[in-house]
Symmetry: C2
Subunit: 478 residues, 2 copies
């Protein structure tokens, strides 16, 4: 029989905190009847966000195309969507039940290219786009392509979304962490990038790529256009491929702040030497269609023979799921003014974005009022990365610890804190050690997704818990 000792050690090593121990405990408590507020994962529809009606109506028609021939259908579905469903079926006559081309359905890739062109005012090529089962699978495909041997490393932010660290552990690549600048709204810092890559090279690591998440997860930061250009120059200088995780591109809340894509900046800089992979998803934005596992990535500055290898990789899994491909199509080909479905679409879209904006402001502001707690009011994405302070035991000084000791000590502290928060309040957040944090700091990540009328109560629960937790620790350590 197989046993723990003879299975893949890389798998054992891989950590994915977003669905880790605290979440499993939350599920246990929930089964016992406790009310759990899941703030651990960006899963909007699990927290009562309604799907956009037009997306579901088109899917409903395509799953059962005979509906389009029934006289009752016109009473239930807007005319433009019946037309749209017919168009999709005409372009993809094998429907939702057949494997597609490995890269995804051709006309959908064209629609994505048109979307990029319109969004950024730059040319885009459908034959450099691949549809994937969500962005995670796309990132994993690109890392499969890029990692040549155990010595290759990928630069990932600290804090980062643990997909990156887990996948690198799993594939046997090296993590080269670079700190995001919490003092400067979590932007990237050139000095810090150079320090971390030079240190890795001295250790014999071969850096092959840099991953950037914009808007940031878990930070909620939106990178400035200048920051993006700095990163592109940095990647060029060190001959790194760029992985631009742009799944939160529609989630930008703060006035005056704008999402800019890496593709746009690269085009403006006329950069032709740096390979770029840009990821997008139907799971975030105002769609929140996580369960449909749809998304795509676009490659730029990639030789054809390399791109063929990515296609081959996709073909081994046959293709991404067709409904996910269709939701991706609907994300980039939305109802237009004059369409029967347009008004409802705009109402729902604005409603969701306004809710998210309001919730991020309320949550950020309220948490900031708590003594010993601070956070950026999220500029974008769906998270607040909250810094909190806890008293130390007398004589404990993290500065005198080895890095390993310190990481272990801090992971214990933030994990115990988050577990206690769960047990006492039912609020499920993820400890900062799951994402990474500056030495000497502690964080947790919370989503901004709970319903608006529960957000203030949520902040109060966190406040009461925190003050009490600190008080007890102080007493214990005094």
């Amino acid at each position: 029989m197989i046993n723990y000792k003879n299975i893949n050690p890389r798998l054992i090593e891989a950590q994915y905190a977003v669905r880790g121990k605290i979440v499993l405990r939350a599920q246990e408590l929930e089964e016992k009847g406790k009310k759990i507020i899941y703030c651990n994962i960006g899963n909007p529809q699990a927290l009562k966000q309604k799907p956009l009606t037009y997306i579901r109506q088109v899917l409903s028609l395509l799953e059962y195309p005979e509906l389009m021939n029934k006289p009752e259908t016109e009473k239930i579905f807007p005319k433009d969507l019946i037309k749209k469903a017919k168009y999709i079926l005409e372009k993809n006559p094998t429907g939702t039940g057949a494997y597609t081309q490995s890269a995804g359905i051709s006309f959908i890739r064209q629609a994505i290219a048109d979307f990029i062109q319109k969004r950024d005012g730059i040319p885009a090529d459908k034959d450099k786009i691949i549809l994937t089962d969500g962005a995670s699978k796309g990132v994993q495909s690109v890392l499969t392509l890029l990692l040549n041997n155990e010595n290759d490393g990928v630069m990932i932010p600290i804090p980062q979304y643990p997909l990156y660290s887990a996948t690198l552990s799993l594939y046997g690549g090296k993590q080269i962490g670079y700190y995001l600048d919490e003092e400067n709204s979590w932007q990237l810092n050139e000095k810090s990038l150079i320090e971390s890559i030079e240190k890795a090279k001295k250790e014999g690591i071969n850096p092959v790529a840099i991953a950037v998440i914009n808007p940031g997860n878990p930070t909620g930061a939106v990178l400035s256009y200048d920051n993006i250009k700095m990163i592109i120059n940095f990647a060029k200088k060190y001959n790194l491929s760029l992985l631009a995780d742009e799944v939160y591109q529609e989630n930008v809340y703060l006035k005056g702040i704008k999402f800019n894509s890496f593709a746009k900046a690269m085009n403006e800089m006329e950069e032709k030497d740096t390979s770029l992979f840009s990821f997008h998803s139907v799971s975030k934005g105002y769609l929140g269609e996580c369960g449909h596992r749809g998304g795509y990535f676009e490659a730029r500055n990639i030789p054809d023979d390399v791109f063929e290898q990515i296609i081959k990789l996709q073909s081994i899994g046959l293709c991404s799921n067709v409904d996910g491909q269709i939701v991706t199509y609907l994300m980039v080909a939305q109802p237009q003014p004059g369409d029967e479905s347009y008004d409802l679409f705009i109402k729902e879209k604005d409603g969701i974005l306004n809710e998210l904006k309001a919730k991020s402001t309320i949550l950020g502001t309220e948490l900031n009022k708590i003594e010993g707690m601070s956070t950026e009011v999220p500029q974008g994405a769906m998270y607040a990365y909250v810094k909190f302070e806890l008293p130390h035991k007398k004589g404990v000084d993290t500065n005198t610890m080895s890095e390993e000791e310190r990481l272990k000590y801090e992971a214990k502290r933030d994990s115990e804190y988050c577990m206690a928060l769960l047990e006492e309040t039912g609020i499920c957040v993820v400890p900062g050690s799951g994402f990474g944090q500056m030495p000497g700091t502690l964080h947790f990540r919370t989503t901004i997704l709970p319903p608006r009328n529960e957000i203030e109560a949520l902040a109060r629960l966190i406040k009461d818990f925190h003050l009490n937790y600190v008080k007890i620790l102080k007493e214990k350590y005094s």
Copy 2:
């Protein structure tokens, strides 16, 4: 910029013939207006097989749940299916748009356990079942778990479905090929298993698992119950995990032939030491729902701490797509006698299975009549693996070649043959070298999926092509 020389060499090495060069050429020809008959891939709905109505009706309701509240709906959908959709929504209130548990929705795993229990008369545990985006992704997860280092090997059949060889190349495991016995209806042969594992061990390879495809792909063979027990004993003796690829379990055509699962045999043998992973899918059988990417695997004789690692692996990709999970549920929880949807379901199911049976018999029989060509009439699955003979150039003797030379020579011969077949007739099949074959033999794999009224014409086209191809070669070589 990345280039072909510095990307992952394992990816370059991986081959997946089912979507290889010949298929790409077929797509090219099709775009130029040539009629292509795609016999390269088991993609039934791409070859006009209709989906089961009940599956699509339930999906249609679940994608747009408001449908269930419209008065028109009862005129369009059977009552039992509206009820079923409501039940699914009640059990999974977050619907199709939210991430699920990493292993898949709990009540669906229970329904699968019930299905196994009913099919085999054995107990089954929902907490040892994982829902996946099709069976391929499940196989890849299990191989990720099992491969400990570059020296670990997995026994795979020759011929095999290239998912296995491609994934082993990609993950850096060793292939340990074992020949299926073409003279004995492609059953496994104990002597041949022992020979191949002993040879591998002598070469310093550490065998960790054996993959068995039943019913067979590309062979169409259904393994006898005795053969299955022999394999379990063999796996036990060598301490191998068993991967039972049972995606064609509903596709059994020959009278007196019955599918038996490895789980059933293992239970009867009271085997508790050998780890078993059994794979199933919604893509095959009579559903043919390839595009929905649904499936599951069930594990037996697996320690809990190992199973937790598989759950963690699934969690890194979050979960499989929800529609695929629902189709899997509908596969194992079908309409029952007395339900409004029952009669149509049975009619459609029987229609599809009878068609497949008739087509496999016609195609097998007709191809067998061709001089220099022979095949088993498929007992199951969706393919015929057809042996054919070609004249050799004077003085060429494959017996005097090194294995590498011979493989190259034979791959050139069967690939050129299949490419010529495509160019002349539009029929797209996959050369035997993509699956593996006995030294000195040539094969191609064709699906049995084209519409019934086209099958005889297809066999005629192959016959005319083959006789002419042989004639030209003979003239050339004389």
